[in-house]
Amino acid sequence: MTESTYRIQGATGEWEVVVGLEVHAQITSHAKLFSGASTTFGAEPNSQVSLVDAAMPGMLPVPNGECIRQAVRTGMALNAQINRWSRFDRKNYFYADLPQGYQISQLYHPIVGEGEIVVTMDEKDPDSATKTIGIERLHVEQDAGKLMHDQHPTRSYVDLNRSGVALMEIVSRPDMRSPAEAGAYLRKLRTILRYVGSCDGNMEEGSMRADVNVSVRKPGDPLGTRTETKNVNSVRFVMATIECEAQRQVDVIEGGGKIVQETRLFDPDKVETRSMRSKEDAHDYRYFPDPDLLPLELEDDFLEDCRRSLPELPDAKRKRYEEGLGLSAYNAAVLTAEAETARWFEALMAEGARIQKKSEGEVAKASANWLLSELFGALNRLGRTLDDSPVTPERGAELLALVADGTISGTISKQVFEIMLETGDAPPKIVEERGLKQTSDTDAIEAAVAKILADNGDKVAQYKGGKEALFGFFVGQTMKAMQGKANPQVVNELLKTALG
């Protein structure tokens, strides 16, 4: 663990930045937190609204067990304390996107208490520094609807599709000291959420957004006054928010001003934050326990079920890849950085082990190398991701098996892969139909070698005169003559014999 050296250079010296994040993560669930309505993104406005979501008279909330389960599993993945007794509170305020006139949240007794996340400053650098960021709490709450201001010249419209959707609010300690640390924290949190499957982490669609708390101080001084920049919706913007807001605070303080505790907005076009409302205008939310809901009491069996359903988490997986499978630290880090990559890799490896009748450890390295260089290279080129990869792990494993058993050479495998990308055909079929099988037929190779040596008498003489580097030329020519299908080992041996 290392201390950040990120500093803002002010006129009066160096300033340290203190950052805490409140992340709102939409819980992956087909139904809303307290109603049976659907949660599909991008549906027609007001098409996913139940009587409860619209807060019709006499409607009552009933907790959705799946949302509670996901919150508990997430808490467990954050090594956090799970509170067996928690309670829902009402946060009262008026706004057109809030049909009940209150948001059901958890202020006094959140479902998850303190936890932590270990972040690596550079996920792809195994020697990069790590830092532990404290989690203060995780609680469950309802999302609000959405106002649409562009539908009518003088009026606003309300879309309640999002009203009542379940969110987890994950509150960090003010443990981050730089934009990079905040970025690393967000990325790691998103990775964990995706591993657990409790949130898709999709910041573009708004299923994950962050409120960014920033303050500055001279190193060693007590905490300064913080501002909270609301609803920042990408890792890049969070980092930019911290950078420009910290700079603004330094400028204000050094200009003789004072930082006001307030809510701000980030403007990505101008790369600046703007005041939204100050503490004096802050709402009095009049929190009190929601009398429509009983306290949540979690039973042992439920907790045990949550724990059993947790997948292997990124840190543990990375360690296993390195120590158990013998992968390089770099490969282990890249393969575990996204849940989807690890899932793909493990499917590839399992299928490879099955076809080749080997252990996973024996096929791990070849699988990792192929995935990270060949497959990722191709996906990059095609502008695709693993989710919509034209090649499945099963097909990839078949390809690697053909290389491993000597049916095709590594060079030919690249050619086969290109055809797979185009046609989606199975590798054995491609090799068969296009006659790409590697040959160890010594007669054919011998004939080719003889012809090449005969055609290149001058080079043979040079070689024999001591220019041994020319051996590679003969190999290349032979392989070319054999259209790449000759077994390289056989070519080597035959050439050596022929050249004396």
Binding site: P57, G58, M59, V62, A96, V158, R286, Y287, D292
Partner: protein
Amino acid sequence: MMTNLTDLTVAEIRAGFRAGEFSAREVASAFSANVASAKALNAFIVETPDHALAAADAADAARASGDLKPLSGVPIGMKDLFCTQGVQSTAASHMLEGFVPTYESTVSQKLWDAGAGMLGKLNLDQFAMGSSNETSYFGNVISPWRRGGGDNAPLAPGGSSGGSAAAISARLCPAATGTDTGGSIRQPAAFTGISGIKPTYGRCSRWGIVAFASSLDQAGPMARTVRDNAILLEAMAGFDAKDATSLDLPVPKWEAALSSDLRGKKVGIPREYRVDGMPAEIDALWEQGIAFLKDAGAEIVEVSLPHTQYALPTYYIIAPAEASSNLARYDGVRYGLRDLPDGAGLQDMYAATRAAGFGPEVKRRIMIGTYVLSAGFYDAYYTQAQKVRTLIARDFERAWESCDVLLAPTAPSAAFALGEKQADPLAMYLNDVFTVPASLAGLPAMSVPGGLDSSGLPLGLQIIGKPLDEQGVLNAALAIEERAGFTARPERWW
């Protein structure tokens, strides 16, 4: 001699209808006619004779095919706090005037499923806030009762279920639904010489009932007899997955287990309910009730509920606090009244809509509730009230160690004249002094007529029971009913 159908109780209608003495259509028509001719009482906000007739025709058809339901042939009144599909549901407010739900409350649906029909939506105090029915936007209900001796001052039917109480006592319907948050079933029942029971909190689903104070609101029946209450309650109660506070328990067969034999039962008399300034007539009524229960075989014991004096202030913190939040949804955005002045923004629309849509008492409670929940006052009021509420519940738990039910007056007086207490909200709130403790503790409690005061107005006795012991409450009430021989009824003037 032709029976006057509108004088029959639910049990009598059920029996006569089944025996073929009359048709369900005749019953529904007779009550509908009474409803139509009693506009002076202002008991109904909406009359729905077609609903009652349709249920009656279904009942008549069912009788022909031998497929009768528990309430086949019985028309009832529905307090206009219950949302009814396709029928305006207002909570007696301007805010919801013209609001026609697309859904049916769980309790009303259960009643229709049991074969009952609806004569109309009954007037009430606006959003169930009041003890006299004077806060209704649609004008107050007038009690069918009048004081003797030529005093024709119009009297309050009690509240908030005043329309239900007045309609039953005036024979406009044999039974009706009520809701009770701090006494809204029991006090109007007492004022109008009928019976009504608030079951244990959680027995009846709150889904589809316009919320006043969620932790206190309970639906219950009102009718002229204890038996009728048992019949209605069986149809109304039961677990509802749509209400997280609903109790997942089977519904007992209360009617079948009715018994006025109280031998072996102990009846507690709460010492602290003898409040200063209680009229002698109320005291005498209470003594009479004790004598009735002794006669039924019960042993009388004195008990103490030491935190009783704090119940009223506690109630008037918790109920407004919850109401201030529950009523926030009436904002003019999605349904109900919208007052949008020219050029107004969102905040202006809220202010205008809520200023126009809520009556003074509702506004008063929203303001009290907002105040007690606000930063800096929350602990002093709301947190403290919750603690006292726990102590009040504990008082009752201790009392159950020495008795099975409690007997007390329902209200500190007989019905008062309309307008008499309107200027003084505190005097009005005092009406709930005997009913709010059981509400705060979530206990079943019932009012049953005990007698008349010197001016000929009904007085009610209240039985409070252990959690889930509606049977004990009904049985003790039955013992009183049998002995009180209450046959008085308002003389028709409307």
